[in-house]
């Protein structure tokens, strides 16, 4: 049994809109082990980024309920000064857009150096520079001495993302949260960055939470996958099980709407309706039921729970047992028959 690094229990993150609180992350429980990549998949507004930000304690205005256990210490409502001892040291974060994540007025070397300085005040200036150049080397930046003195705008998108990663891993964190780390990048750069994250995982034995909407990235990177819809996890399983035998209607619909797997020019599956906004989220019953109206209401549970269908494979609600795509929509077989 591998060592448990992070355990999130019944996490609920609510934002205040006017006078009411609305939960963007609603009763999410999950865990990450050392040297494991947990991918969190979902579309915009499903709460996957809110979940990541909650773990890092970056939502200081939100109401956070439940437990976030990092190495058995509850960090859910830790004070900022205590959080700052962990953040950047034990936990690192890679942000989606490297241009906004970096300070445009600060030299690359100083930005990475700052992360080191914050957690080790005694580090001398020369030692620090040495270490930063080491880090730049590690993330595959050519001519690190030169880049050390450059500003973010002088670097390409891929290089900037490497700098963000170098900052995140400066103190060799045990947990790394990557929020859509390659969404802003071209596909060849993407594969380089993903390789880099894989290498770092093995080098540092770190646990990684990878947030993405790209199922191809999940297939390449993840050990386990959690699928989120409307603030909840609807399905969680190891990557092979999930890709071979997705059960929840939402997971199956997602797979069917990706053009990559479909035969060219065929119709893609369209999920009916739209993702409900935070205020209009159905709080009772199966949250996905409105998107699959042809499924009889009796198929859904009144209070949908996660059911363990096989070891480690959990599915929310019972509606998956009765689910099938409507006649005339693209058939699943053709997508999964590609191997």
């Amino acid at each position: 049994m591998s060592e448990k690094l992070l355990e999130v229990k019944n996490l609920k993150t609510s934002f205040r809109i006017k006078d009411d609180y609305y939960a963007a992350v609603d009763d999410v429980s999950l865990s990450v082990n050392k040297n494991e990549v947990l991918a969190i998949v979902g579309e915009s507004g499903c709460g996957k980024s809110a979940l990541a930000f909650s773990i890092m304690g970056l939502h200081n205005r939100a109401k956070i309920e439940g437990n976030i256990l990092f190495k058995d210490q509850d960090i859910a409502n830790l004070s900022i000064s205590n959080l700052n001892k962990l953040r950047g040291k034990n936990m690192g974060m890679i942000f989606q857009d490297p241009l906004t994540a970096l300070n445009p007025l600060m030299e690359i070397g100083d930005q990475i150096g700052e992360a080191l300085l914050l957690h080790n005040k005694d580090l001398s200036k020369t030692k620090r520079k040495e270490k930063v150049i080491d880090l730049l080397n590690k993330v595959g930046i050519p001519r690190p001495e030169h880049v050390y003195e450059q500003f973010p705008h002088e670097l390409s998108g891929g290089m900037r993302q490497r700098v963000v990663i170098a900052t995140a891993i400066a103190n060799e964190p045990e947990l790394l949260i990557a929020d859509e780390p390659t969404t802003a990048l071209d596909v060849t750069i993407q594969s380089q960055i993903l390789d880099l994250i894989k290498e770092l995982k093995d080098d540092m034995d770190a646990g990684i939470i990878l947030i993405t909407h790209d199922l191809g990235v999940v297939a390449e990177m993840a050990d386990r996958v959690a699928v989120m819809y409307a603030g909840q996890i609807v399905e969680i399983a190891d990557v092979h099980t999930l890709f071979e035998k997705p059960l929840h209607p939402y997971t199956r619909s997602l797979f069917n709407s990706v053009p990559n797997t479909a035969q060219a020019k065929s119709k893609l599956h369209v999920i009916q309706g739209i993702v409900p906004s935070l205020q209009n989220l159905p709080r009772e019953g199966c949250r996905f039921s409105a998107r699959i109206p042809w499924i009889d209401a009796s198929a859904h549970e009144e209070h949908p729970e996660l059911h363990e269908v096989s070891s480690g494979h959990f599915v929310r609600c019972t509606c998956y047992k009765h689910f099938d795509f409507p006649e005339g929509s693209s058939k699943e077989e053709q997508h999964h028959g590609i191997s």
Binding site: E43, S191, H240, P259, A264, V270
Partner: protein, 309 residues
Amino acid sequence: MAFLEVEDLKVHFPIKGGIFGRTVGHVKAVDGVSFSLEKGKTYGLVGESGSGKTTTGRAIIGLNKITSGKVMFDGRDITGMKSKSDVRKDIQMIFQDPYSSLNAKKRVIDIVAEPLRNFEKLSKKEERIRVQELMELVGLSPESILKYPHEFSGGQRQRIGIARAIALKPKLIIADEPVSALDVSVQAQVLNFMQDIQEELDLTYLFIGHDLGVIKHMCDNIGIMYKGRYVEEGTTEEIFTNPQHIYTKRLVAAIPDIDPKKRQEQTQFRQEVKAEYEQSYNDYFDDEGLAYQLQPVSDTHLVALPEKG
């Protein structure tokens, strides 16, 4: 004669420098691009950011000034056409970001009717009926024409953008990354819809994109651009199953495989391609790191290779 023919298109942007803002050099965004497009087909223009694919599309429709070269549309030379010439009606554009391409302060009716107001003199009532018809065509309720863009979701907004593009019954639509900003399920909606109206209205698409999965799904022919030049052109089948240029090979290899069982295989394949790329870089690119002229491999398949001998 092809429906759209682009011949040796060049778009160079001046670099201003010095205290007097003199031109000190040029960025060769598009540097000698030629291709042709058959009626009713979808042609994919692929490349990474900065490859010049968007500039090519914008130059064809007249949003970027053409430095040299020729654009022939339906047998007419439209290079540097006047902004209100009739050809403008026949070519329309769908933009990448449905959030910034719609004026937030205008109602949907004003957004969709704008091309109509430019080219057709309709009474208020006729205009309203036309806009309502268009809304129905793109699957939005005709009553919603008085709403503002922020009242719609991303996919709905992109359909408003499409309604505007098809308002004048164009023959060619240049779609510049029309689904890049959208979620997969919404993306599926827009792609399906684009295929439907292509049949219904006999449209020809120039589809600009970087997502090879989407390109493969939509296109009949594909051109791959790198640093303002073509590196390869062929049918979708040829590009994906038999890529010849090392750059194309690398691009195809970089697409994440959706089957987690093939992870090992894929990593190995990618390493092989990377090694080949580094080894044979000089065989495929000239001293400046640019692609050579295209040489035919078969009737439809062209690859940028140095001339033999």
